[in-house]
């Protein structure tokens, strides 16, 4: 007779949320094992060397949402993490001009005024309004959402907190907030700005990762999802993790292991074993069975309930909701090795603007057309792209003098007519490269290698269903106490001893760590263990 080990907890998936969750459980003294299907850890928070001498941030590429409370609580600075704030940013115009983002307040004001004097003034009102909503939403990131359907004292308390937060808003602000949640980004911005390029510049963040266009209701909120993060207290700023986004996962894994945890790669889970409505462990692809007192899934809600769990183990409601969970993929990604810095002649020599995000969509109209293509299951012929070149100040990602470029592409269909082929994938990539070359004449000369990723590749590698980057869309019906499903927003699964810690749970996608930490808090509460997860720093 062999006695199989019974782990305190098994986490399925070494994504950054799985690792965060695991680290807090291990810190509380639990015996924790993380199982990862790939040979590498990190999921969509990863750096890989696919071209000799170059490190790519293959999926996520910029960092702002990651909770500083988690960073501090797990001492990630000592585990090698360093997040350097970005500067610059530019939207190129088709007429050869551009709109730049500068960090200095006065320089930025003058740049806005160059396009519209009025917009330069309106930006004060815009920023104040956006900060109101950011401030509100940031208070919820490291909290378990209340369940409005129950009357347990804790939920009542949490709901009271939520209401109080709301009522700190004046009556008119409350109305505005509700409008904000339901408006399209285009209509929202048009209440502030008049310049085409400024409208386009500010709206880009609102369509990233969504199956929505700039004129679709609900996109205004997505702007918030990109603005609510911070780098060292500067809200809305983005940063580069030195060494690429894989450094986040590496630091988390290092903290986890320092607390005694272990990680197994090449260990795909095919089933969460359930008996008597209790999770008992998992079965691996190689047939091996592992036992654990609790099982935590870092996979998206669809994959969790439709792939690694059996319908007969689950309430019918959950299966139905998992089937209906909105998780349309809409993004692609190019990771590019460059022999030298590409030139952007529209910019004055020495301009700092290339240090940040580069964009090539200068009107709302072009953005909406890009969306039209996706609705017809085509990749955008004139896509919205978010491009960064971190090697301008990160020496670790390419040989000296060479560069790494990351190009996030909106939109790319889950499946073009007739399905994906490698040839179609390359044609998609060519569309994106051609757009870059329009603004950078030496681009093809310096291009060495490009990794082209459509939703097909994202799903195959990371396991993101349909390649959806947020593990489920960020629309009101799938946020807060509705994420992933009503009644299941508190990280507990439908069977006992089973939990969810992925981006499919509150507060959603992005390299944030909050779902992992929030889930750990609930697990430790159920186990009567002292809480190792951090409290929100608070804004005031």
């Amino acid at each position: 007779m062999t006695i199989t080990k019974n782990y305190d907890a098994i986490i399925i998936g070494a994504g950054h949320n799985g690792l965060t969750n695991a680290a807090f459980l291990a810190k509380a003294g639990l015996d924790v094992l993380v199982l990862e299907k790939n040979a590498h850890i990190g999921g969509a928070t990863v750096s890989r060397e696919l071209y000799d001498g170059w490190k790519y941030s293959n999926c996520s590429y910029v960092c702002s949402l990651f909770r500083p409370e988690i960073y501090q609580a797990l001492d990630l600075g000592r585990h090698g993490l360093e997040v350097v704030p970005l500067q610059g940013g530019v939207t190129f115009k088709q007429n050869g001009d551009y709109f730049g983002s500068y960090h200095h307040h006065d320089i930025q004001r003058r740049e806005i005024a160059r396009h519209s004097q009025r917009d330069a003034d309106a930006v004060v009102r815009f920023n104040a309004d956006l900060m109101k909503w950011c401030r509100l939403i940031r208070g919820f990131l490291l909290r378990t959402p209340p369940d409005p359907g129950t009357f347990r004292p804790r939920d009542a308390m949490e709901f009271a907190y939520l209401l109080k937060k709301f009522y700190e808003l004046s009556e008119s602000q409350l109305y505005e907030f509700i409008r904000f949640f339901t408006m399209s980004i285009a209509e929202y911005l048009e209440e502030y700005f008049e310049s085409d390029v400024i409208l386009a510049h500010y709206s880009g963040g609102s369509i990233i990762g969504t199956g929505l266009g700039v004129y679709s209701p609900g996109t205004a909120y997505v702007l918030l999802h990109h603005a609510m993060g911070d780098v060292d207290g500067s809200i809305g700023s983005w940063g580069f993790a030195r060494g690429g986004m894989g450094s986040v996962s590496k630091a988390l894994a290092s903290a986890f292991c320092a607390h005694g945890g272990s990680i197994r790669t090449d260990a795909e889970v095919t089933n969460i074993n359930v008996s008597n409505q209790r999770a008992t462990g998992v079965t691996l692809k190689n047939g091996e069975t592992l036992r654990a007192k609790i099982v935590v899934s870092n996979l998206d809600a669809k994959r969790t309930f439709l792939n690694v769990m059996h319908s007969e183990d689950l309430p019918g409601d959950v299966v139905k909701r998992a089937k209906n969970f909105k998780i349309r993929g809409s993004s692609g990604k190019l990771n590019i090795a460059l022999d030298a810095m590409p030139e952007f002649p529209a910019l004055p020599p020495g301009s700092p603007l290339t240090l940040g995000h580069l964009h090539f969509s200068d009107t709302l109209e072009r953005l909406e057309r890009a969306y039209d293509d996706w609705k017809e299951d085509r990749w955008s012929s004139d896509p919205y792209t978010d491009t960064v070149i971190p090697t301008q100040f990160d020496p670790t990602m390419a040989p000296p003098g060479k560069h790494m470029m990351s190009v996030f592409v909106q939109y790319c269909p889950v499946e073009p007519e007739g399905g994906w082929t490698d040839a179609k994938r390359d044609a998609f990539g060519k569309t994106v490269l051609d757009q870059l070359a329009e603004y950078s004449p030496n681009f093809y000369d310096v291009l060495l290698h490009a990794e082209i990723r459509t939703p097909r590749e994202l799903e195959a590698e990371v396991g993101l269903t349909e390649g959806n980057i947020f593990q489920g869309e960020l629309t009101l019906d799938q946020l807060l106490f509705n994420r992933p499903f009503p009644g299941y927003a508190q990280y507990r699964g439908p069977v006992k001893n089973m939990y969810m810690c992925s981006s499919s749970t509150h507060p959603g996608g992005g390299v944030m760590g909050a779902p992992g930490a929030n889930a750990a808090r609930e697990i430790l509460r159920d186990l009567n263990k002292s809480d190792t997860t951090p409290e929100d720093f608070g804004d005031d």
Binding site: D97, R110, D121, A122, R125, R135, E168, L169, S172
Partner: protein, 398 residues
């Protein structure tokens, strides 16, 4: 394609070369996108130039808007809390404007230049708010901040100095009056206005005439008369507190930029009751202000004098010595002319009245060692300091 020089942080003032030549300290600060001296030479000499002789300050960074058209008066009257139908051509009025919640967006001065032709000067950028407010009015609103060369000339010898510079007609120019004149061959507008609470003028010319305007004053300085002196913002801060003038964005948070509920302020809360006129037709914020007026006051920006000689930098205000915290100092200075510490403090009221025993807890350093001291505060109504020369027409020669 682009005319934006990203290497220059600030817009050059038309008086740039003159100001640089006279700024000994390289002590600059940003003001609405321009670089202004905080102190040009020494704080004491600049303060006393304002109070004892003649000070000069560049007004380029102050926001200026030209408002013209058939509805100009109606538009402005709806915008501000004061009744502007009474403002005659050739006169200036101090105004504030609010949002619909009756919270102050900014303050400034309205110049009635000609029939249906106004200039509005403001502390902060207002184009967005003015354009939003102008919907439905037949007006044109032009930002002219960059297009005007303006200097403020303040102090007891300012009348004599400007007269000696060749400006005629000042002897009959009353406070808040406007004079259009011609000096050394260029057109100049003079208003008897300022932010010092003293005798003083503001001079307005076309931008192209900036050098002429500058030279008109500073060739006079070269004669050694009237002690004309360039001043920086630090001296201005001292005298504006003495005069009891408020600074939106420093003494209180302006409504448009306020994020947290209840962090903005109404005119009543700022002690500006005297420019809220409920007898005029509707103006933005009127209903909210009427409702506020009917309730007991919950707080005020109070003018306080403090015992002792330690300015209450960043101090909390308490009800009773070591009592309950009840407010905070928003602006403070040591007043050389009064030999007293002055403060503007945001203070919570009790049943519509200020607490009767106010104290400030003051931290200060001596040779890097921190000390704490309690100072009793006295509430002052009206200006801390004023002088009859401010109102005398004709003005006294010094």
């Amino acid at each position: 394609m682009s005319d934006h020089n990203y290497l220059s942080t600030h817009e050059p003032s038309p008086f740039d070369s003159g100001i640089r030549a006279q700024s000994q300290t390289e002590n600059w600060t940003g003001w609405n996108g321009y670089l202004s001296p905080r102190i040009a030479d020494t704080l004491a000499s600049e303060y006393f130039a304002i109070r004892s002789s003649c000070s000069v300050m560049d007004l380029t960074p102050m926001e200026k808007y030209r408002i013209t058209g058939p509805d100009a008066t109606a538009f402005l009257n709806r915008l501000v809390t004061r009744d502007l139908t009474k403002l005659r051509v050739g006169r200036v009025a101090y105004v504030v404007w609010c949002n619909d919640e009756g919270k102050v967006i900014d303050d400034g001065t309205v110049f009635h230049l000609a029939e249906n032709d106004y200039r509005l000067c403001a502390q902060h950028h207002q184009l967005d708010w003015l354009l939003l407010s102008s919907i439905g009015f037949d007006v044109s609103i032009q930002k002219e901040t960059h297009d005007i060369a303006a200097l403020s000339v303040q102090g007891p010898t300012s009348f004599s100095a400007l007269s000696a510079a060749g400006i005629k007609g000042l002897e009959t120019l009353k406070p808040f009056g406007i004079l259009n004149t011609n000096v050394n061959g260029f057109e100049l507008t003079v208003s008897r206005t300022g932010f010092t609470g003293d005798l003083g003028y503001e001079l307005w010319a076309e931008r192209a005439r900036a050098d002429d305007l500058w030279n008109t004053l500073f060739t006079l300085k070269d004669t050694g008369l009237f002690d004309i002196r360039l001043i920086g913002l630090d001296a201005l801060e001292m005298v504006r507190i003495e005069a009891g003038f408020i600074m939106p964005g420093w003494d209180f948070n302006t409504a448009e930029s306020t994020i947290r509920a209840d962090h903005d302020r109404s005119p009543f809360e700022l002690g500006l009751d005297w420019i809220v006129n409920f007898d005029k037709p509707y103006f933005t914020g009127k209903s909210a202000l009427l409702a506020e007026k009917a309730r007991p006051a919950t707080r005020r920006l109070l003018k306080l004098t403090l015992e002792g000689n330690k300015p209450p930098v960043g101090s909390f205000i308490f009800h009773g010595k070591k009592g309950k915290q009840t407010g905070a100092v928003m602006a403070q200075t040591w007043s050389p002319i009064l030999k007293r510490c002055l403060a503007l403090a945001d203070v919570d009221f009790i049943d519509g009245h200020p607490p009767n025993d106010l104290w400030a807890e003051i931290y200060y350093q001596k040779e890097l060692k921190w000390h704490v001291k309690w100072a009793r505060c006295e509430i002052v109504e009206g200006q801390f300091w004023s002088h009859p020369r401010r109102r005398a027409t004709p003005p006294m020669p010094f």
